[in-house]
Symmetry: C2
Subunit: 360 residues, 2 copies
């Protein structure tokens, strides 16, 4: 069976690497000439709007999935005419607009921070009144890794905010004084079977994920699982999905979900019995899902912008280096390191050894 992947970045690369042992083959599709999945599978280089190229791509594979959700909706809808697409364009659509997404969460009983649509400059002031300051204002579409966001700390910043973002529809979200950020990565098969990875605690820096730590038996696990199960069932979702949450006291508030494998699940490559990547391709290819149990204690640290001294890091037992084959560039995710150990004490020592080298 051959799977097509829209996008040929590091997620496509890790999907293909996880799928080859299952006997699957892959072709990716990406407008970028030097997409990093091209080391590991053929990549069709064409624009996402190129219908002839999309049709030929669809006809060359047995089903299609995608590695990102921001620009592929129209492409996915077009491809669905010719070939099964998992997850479906419906799931993809649900993440295209932050306002629709939050309304959907509420409709499903998934709690969220307070939010208001912003369509005029005056809406900023109204939202600040109802939600308080600071206020997080985001573009409703096409945001990722902290891009397209503005934190309004005082009302006299409203002009600046409007100048920067006011040309597109916006959403205002209450600034949540969260105790921690967590995510739950889960997977659902074509038959509706679901598996859940342990809750993962995430630390962001400059709006980009820095570190993820899976926490087996975390007390918030049941609530997170209930949220993500409701979400996946309502979307008849097929594949791996990540739901990002804020914890405030003993409540979890949904921030957003990603209809794909997720950076906060990269630790599963070494840390879980079956990785999020393998389980995604299993779901898409109709193979029974694999166990999501953590096999070791682990921590994932992103490599952003530049590589640290890899020789020193690779000398640390349990440090697993992932180089995506991308050129270093400021702010770019170019790799990650997962550190594993069979005790939390040993994990802590090893993480310190790695972090010392990284100077992060």
């Amino acid at each position: 069976m051959k799977l097509g992947i829209l996008g040929a970045g590091q997620l496509a690369r890790m999907l293909a690497l996880a799928g080859y042992p299952l006997g699957l083959r892959f072709t990716a599709f990406d407008p970028a000439k030097e997409a990093c999945a091209s080391d590991v599978c053929p990549v069709v280089c064409a624009a996402y709007e190129d219908e002839a190229a999309l049709k030929a791509f669809a006809e060359s594979v047995d089903c299609v999935t995608f590695e990102f959700e921001n620009v592929a909706l129209e492409s996915a809808r077009y491809l669905e005419q010719f070939v099964p697409v998992f997850p479906s364009s419906r799931a993809l659509e649900a993440t295209q607009d932050r306002l629709d997404e939050k309304n959907m969460f509420r409709g499903l009983g998934v709690e969220t921070p307070g939010f208001e649509p912003i369509n005029t400059k005056e809406d900023i002031l109204k939202a600040a009144e109802s939600l308080g300051l600071p206020l997080v204002v985001k573009t409703r579409r096409f945001g990722y890794d902290g891009k397209g966001q503005f934190v309004l700390r005082s009302l006299d910043q409203a002009e600046q905010l409007w100048a920067e973002l006011g040309s597109v529809p916006l959403i205002a979200e209450a600034f949540v004084p969260f105790d921690r950020e967590v995510s739950i990565v889960a997977v659902r098969s074509q038959q509706g079977d679901m598996r859940f990875y342990p809750l993962t605690e995430n630390e962001h820096r400059n709006g980009i994920l820095h570190k993820s730590v899976p926490l087996v038996d975390d007390p918030m696990t049941a609530q997170a699982q209930q949220y993500v199960a409701t979400l996946m069932e309502s979307l008849d979702y097929v594949g791996t999905l990540a739901l990002e949450l804020f914890q405030v006291g003993d409540r979890l508030l949904a921030n957003e979900f990603a209809p794909r494998v997720h950076n906060s699940g990269h630790w599963t490559i070494e840390g879980a019995e079956t990785s999020q990547f393998e389980n995604h391709v299993r779901a898409v290819a109709g193979i029974p899902l694999g166990d999501t149990r953590a096999v070791e204690f682990s921590t994932m640290i992103n490599l952003i912008g530049d590589f640290p001294d890899r020789g020193v890091i690779q000398n640390v037992d349990g440090a697993h280096f992932h180089d995506y084959g991308k050129s270093p560039r400021a702010g770019r995710k170019i790799g990650h390191i997962t550190i594993t150990a069979n005790s939390t004490e040993l994990l802590s020592e090893r993480v310190s050894a790695v972090v010392d080298v990284m100077k992060v």
Copy 2:
């Protein structure tokens, strides 16, 4: 860094899959048109004797390794003029001839079963007298998976043996009434660091490996490690190596070694902190070696000839299916399954569930 691999079968395929996360790239070289590594890396299709193709291959990569030892010696020697080759042709040469290999073992203090060279039909009778019956007679070169072997059970089979194998140099080996067959997979870096995987107990069927079970803290570990360390040091070996041994009482007798990743180490992909494949490419690429510790209990079962019902097997938690992308054919290794669990009891249940489906 780009690694070249001589041979593009399943071992090359698994080497490349293990090396991509490290940021390495791969090109394989194989005379076969549809070699299975071609799913995961470019393959140069040319004869091993094609010096122009070998030279161009050498010049396109930073170093070369190989996935099998039977026909590549001249190619490896030729390539060494242009590019580093790990392990060296010297290590490769030491495995080309079973008689030289056994003499080398003896010279290093590594015990072996009794053996005698067979150059004439009369030598068969002499060997039977000194080593006893049954007598295992093998071609000195080019044997694998039980091919090129004859078990002489009575002297009146000597004519038949000579007719079948007598055209090439032979070695007679004493038939060893072993308690079990074990192997030790180990790896050595360019700086001489060594790491050892747990001793693995192996079961063969029809001369082909059927099942491997790693045994942490096996009482024979120290002796096996001492043997393989002596061997690797004497050859200034770089990369992963497997030493196959017979256990008789409390003694280990060396059967043969493979200067490469080995089927009895396939369990390390899921079962060890760092797989034999990753450690091989680490050694070859000059990256510090990874931890060889077993992270779970595991068992590997080969898929020979045809595939079992993979859906049923993949429904067993902890069953990891490896499909090499090869066409099924009687006697052909087309994949393997590694079953993992966090207790021996659970492992035993899961192995039974898999074996029931396989009817092996």
